[in-house]
């Protein structure tokens, strides 16, 4: 009886501390929440479409996001959240959210190794530690399974955006790390810039001669044929192995840009669609 009373006394503040109304601004935090049995009252509009969001999030209010603050603060306040799971991308909006008495927690891993710890962190914040541990273990196991049986390690150049010399994904970006984990030998390996992206000299591209070029253009489906043709006509890229062997690909969702709980699935997709390893 005494033990029960003590347990109730200890758990009560924790239960009170766990916020009930939560807004998740990134696909990672939104999918993590529903993965541990918490339905948010609002989610952020995902760049590149909502395809990667869990079906359990259907019908949840979607907030448009824009630089530099993230959500419109009036729309956010209307949802009356106690907690916002945000991203460093929208860091500038955090002080305003806090001034509205909203707790803000940043959680958007930019490396695969950060996925499981971040899931556990969210579980702790929302009072679902056990479920979070289970989900983190499941995600880790899925990543390990997705990496099994890698037969070859093609040299890969991953590009962001369009333009005459687009930015390349570095190892310290989500997409760069993901392609490396999928068995790609990143052409930009060894380079490190704070943002995870850098404009790479075409001389280096010619010298390294990538087997595969993957472009993440941020474009509508209608634009893909034009972008693909432009890339394949690039006088330098078309003489690389990727150009010669017709292995210049477009990735038009946000799977190489933003983390989520489907990391294993994305690794399998990268292996089968692009790396063929």
């Amino acid at each position: 009886m005494l033990a029960v009373a003590v347990a109730v006394a200890v758990m009560a503040p924790l239960a009170q501390a766990a916020p009930k109304r939560i807004v998740a601004l990134t696909p990672f935090t939104a999918n993590t929440l529903v993965g541990i049995g918490v339905k948010p009252v609002g989610i952020g509009q995902t760049l590149g479409g909502q395809k990667r969001l869990s079906k359990k999030l259907d019908g949840v209010r979607t907030l448009p996001l824009s630089h530099p603050n993230g959500p419109n603060m009036e729309q956010l306040a209307r949802l009356n959240p106690g907690l916002v799971l945000s991203s460093p991308t929208w860091r500038k909006g955090a002080p305003t959210m806090r001034s509205l008495d909203i707790k803000v927690v940043m959680s958007d891993p930019d490396r695969i190794a950060g996925v499981a710890p971040e899931i556990r962190k969210i579980g702790k914040v929302v009072g679902r530690r056990k479920q979070a541990r289970k989900l983190a273990a499941s995600v880790k196991a899925d990543i390990a399974a997705a990496r099994k049986g890698i037969k070859s390690r093609p040299k890969v150049l991953v590009l962001l955006g369009v333009g005459r010399t687009p930015f390349a994904f570095l190892e310290n970006s989500w997409g760069g790390d993901l392609v490396s984990e999928a068995g790609g030998d990143l052409l930009t390996a060894g380079l490190d810039e704070p943002g995870g992206f850098a404009r790479i000299s075409d001389e280096q591209v010619l010298k390294e001669d990538p087997d595969v070029i993957i472009a993440v253009p941020h474009a509508d489906e209608d634009d893909i044929p034009g972008i693909t043709k432009y890339m394949r006509d690039n006088p330098i890229w078309k003489v690389t192995k990727a150009g010669q062997n017709d292995r210049i690909y477009i990735s038009n969702d946000n799977s190489l840009l933003q983390a989520s709980t489907d990391t294993g699935k994305v690794i399998r997709s990268v292996r089968s669609r692009f790396l063929k390893n």
Binding site: H67, T165, A198, R199, E203, I224, G226
Partner: protein, 328 residues
Amino acid sequence: MVVRRTLVVVAAAAAALAAAAVSLALGAVDLPLSDVIDALTGSLGEGSTRQIVLELRLPRTVEAAAVGAALGVAGALLQGALGNPLASPDVIGVTGGAGFGAVLILIVFPGSIALLPVGALAFGLLAAGLVFAIAWVGPDAGGVGKLILAGIAVGALFGAGTTAVLTAYPDRVQSAIFFIAGGLSSDGWRELEIVWPYFAVGFVAAICLMRPLDRLALGDDVAASLGVRPRLIRLIAGVGAAFLAAAAAAIAGLLGFLGLVVPHVVRLAGGTSSHTFVVPVSAISGAALLMAGDTLARTVKAPIELPVGPFMVALGVPLFLLLLRRAV
């Protein structure tokens, strides 16, 4: 005075030749100098070294020289024609228009990315056309004040359009950063093939205007008494500068600083404002400055390429301030 001018011409030409040589010799990939020379003289066989020198470095060096010369001459033409030391391609709306055209393609129509130089060129010229149309209609048609005010208004209009596009597509902004910051690319000869006629028209106009601009510098009334039609000269100079600046923006993005500073550096160094001196030496100096800046931008953190704008400022501003200090 003649000795001083000759020295400036020789120094500018030597700087341009040195910058071109360094631009061809240095890059992200270390190549022996002998291989670079062999590639340029055609005595190197097929292979990546030949490709790097002939398809990457050579077109880029030529582009840098052409863009630098064009912006230097555009600035000299506008400062001379408007009698205003602050005149640059920004003033006639070209920079704002070209920026809008490029951002429109990069952000809204990325599927038509091959049209990027055409978009920048077309909107740069459209903006300049609007400025001239507004400035040459109604009272005080062709007046300097009216032209500058029209340029500021049209530039603001296109600048607002650019901001609106960037705001509407925040996830695509990355594609436009390098164009806005200003920078050359290793895109072979494709862009020069599109814009060279506009460079040609602009340079020919500049050559033809050197003496009329000197007369215009004496004041509209004196110039008119010497047989020059001030408003016509201003219009031709403005159109020539618009062609040069729009073609430059189509290749290298927004590098307005160069057009503003280079003619001043040339005037201060040569001790004269004569356009027969300022226009050609601005072309050589602009070419030298951009070739040097671009080489720095693509080698300092190689193989990462940085925007060229900050490097040009780092190279040009100390020289400009030094000359300005001596002149005052």
